[in-house]
């Protein structure tokens, strides 16, 4: 929790507070959810909702050993719910005259990568993002995705293999493979 403690002017640390946690986690949360969902605006809303749930349980979340894993677990659950309802949302887009992909300013490769990631099965998508974007350890990834460490390794391997079919990827360094 150290990174979420606010530093007092005298160099000491104040207690962990929600605002500091939210400010610290928000950028990576939105970015990872964008990769997971393929949609920045949805990611912003999902991130907001995930932080609402953290706020509701802040006393307990703040006391957790790995609160960010809990946050990402909540956000991925929310994203999975969103995924299931994507068809309904597409109908909403059509009603208000907006295309499926509102992130028009992004480059072709960004679109291609996000599309490739979004086509991965949920467990593989979550494992790849947690391991190689959020830099989670296998254990943290397992906690965030509610998988066993073995399943995380397997999902990560399969996800990477699928991405390699489209992109020329080197073997990732496994410096963060702390069990």
């Amino acid at each position: 929790m150290e990174e979420f403690r606010r530093h007092a002017p005298d160099g000491g640390e104040t207690a962990v507070d929600f605002e500091a946690f939210a400010y610290d986690q928000h950028p990576r949360l939105v970015a990872s959810l964008t990769l997971y969902c393929g949609d920045r605006w949805v990611a912003e809303e999902l991130a907001q909702e995930a932080l609402v749930r953290v706020w509701e349980r802040w006393d307990r979340v703040a006391a957790m050993v790995a609160p960010r894993s809990w946050l990402h677990r909540v956000s991925i659950n929310l994203a999975n719910s969103w995924w299931r309802r994507r068809q309904a949302e597409r109908r909403a887009y059509r009603r208000i005259g907006v295309g499926d992909d509102p992130n028009e300013a992004d480059s072709a490769e960004v679109h291609a990568v996000r599309a490739a990631v979004s086509r991965l099965p949920a467990s593989q998508r979550g494992a790849v993002i947690c391991r190689y974007f959020l830099e989670f350890s296998v254990a943290e990834t397992a906690e965030a995705l509610n998988l066993t460490p073995g399943s995380v390794k397997s999902a990560t391997h399969r996800g990477l293999a699928t991405l390699r079919e489209q992109f020329d990827l080197s073997d990732p360094e496994e410096a963060h493979d702390v069990p």
Binding site: W55, E89, F133, L163
Partner: protein, 453 residues
Amino acid sequence: MSRDVRRLLGNAAPEVRTLPDVAAIEQRARGRRYRRIAGVAVSASLVAAAVVVAGAAWLGQDSANGPVAVQPVPGPTQTTSPGPRPSETAPSPVPRPTETAPSPASADGWQRVDDPAVFGGPGLQAAAGAAAVGEAVVVVGVDAANAADGQVGPGVWLSDGPDRWHRLDASAIDTGGAEFEDADLWMRDVAVGDDGTLVGVGFANLDPDEQPLVWRSDDGGQTWSLVPVEASGSAAMEAVTWTDHGFVAVGRAAGPAVWTSTNGAQWTQHSLPAEGQLVDVAWDAGHDRVVAALVIGDSSQLWTGQPDQPSEWSPAELPPEVEVASVAMSSSGGYAAGVTRPDGADYDGILVASSDGLSWQADPRSEALGGRGDQLVGTVFISSDGRAVVAGDDDRTGRIWISPNPDTHFESVAEPLFPAESRVSTVIEGTHGLIAVGAAGADDVMIWQEVNQ
């Protein structure tokens, strides 16, 4: 040249420079607490993703409450426990009657009761259900005073007269001891049997799972003991009613769930072959059946059938895009009330009516339940003199609408008595008139009551 997957993902991820809107997060979370207390089916608990385009929000659904595949339970599961278990914190009566000073009556004959000493305190206090027991009124909900810091516990407030209220503390309400040490306990509704037995239902939020809870009181609500309730997997009770066949409680498990009990002590769980969750139940005495409100995403059904045979209940369709929050039946028919978003923007209240409990149509009086902003209708009640009472809030203050008969439009009542951020959870009838309960302001219980004219 090959690249590292970290770089590939890092390039594809957006650079996020926006800061989280912490005030909005807090506001949404606080609003959700109120909604949950009010039992409004459109609550933010249904929000999973809101895709904001040109200012229009598109609501998704929470995975915990969303449609899930349901495996019908082949038959009822009898609870194995012979009866109430001894409480780890043996409840004892702690009567603390307090003369409360109600507000002056409004022009339309209502007054507010909001004594902070009885209805307030640190943390959340809010009323969710109520029942009249002779002259007495029992209000149930949540009271943070009956839980560890940062959590909520069951709340019970009693009245033995219009201006005499007191609250029960944890010594009078079984909170389950160590089993629920880290859980929020929610008492959501209460019903009284024909022998005076009171049953309060709710759930323990064990995060992420829920466990259904039943409290039973044999002394008019002075003390409450937890009763064992068997449930398969995560489950929660939302509403309870008394019928000629015993108690019927409804809620959610893997799908919509029903629990029945002849005495409030032994409970049998049933399920419906449907998706979604049951949010309310009412007894249709004239037809010897119950009517239960089912919410599936942003639509609803009303299921009817014999109280002790939920597997044979049948659904009645409602107008599309109606989320029912409450149902009430009388000898001459019934009403279901909730919200609708016909244009995808603000919520309007809506009332649907039935003469037989089987066929339901939108009630033309619903027009008065719309208006600027969200009109969040959460409960409907039929008084003994045939008035239809609809209540909830308009996202700013509580609202009560009353129609004296089917040919007369709803009128909003008691408006001067609703402070900011108030909301009405339920309405009942006491010996002195209608009583509305809910929450207001800084997380306090608030009660509104008709004044004898």
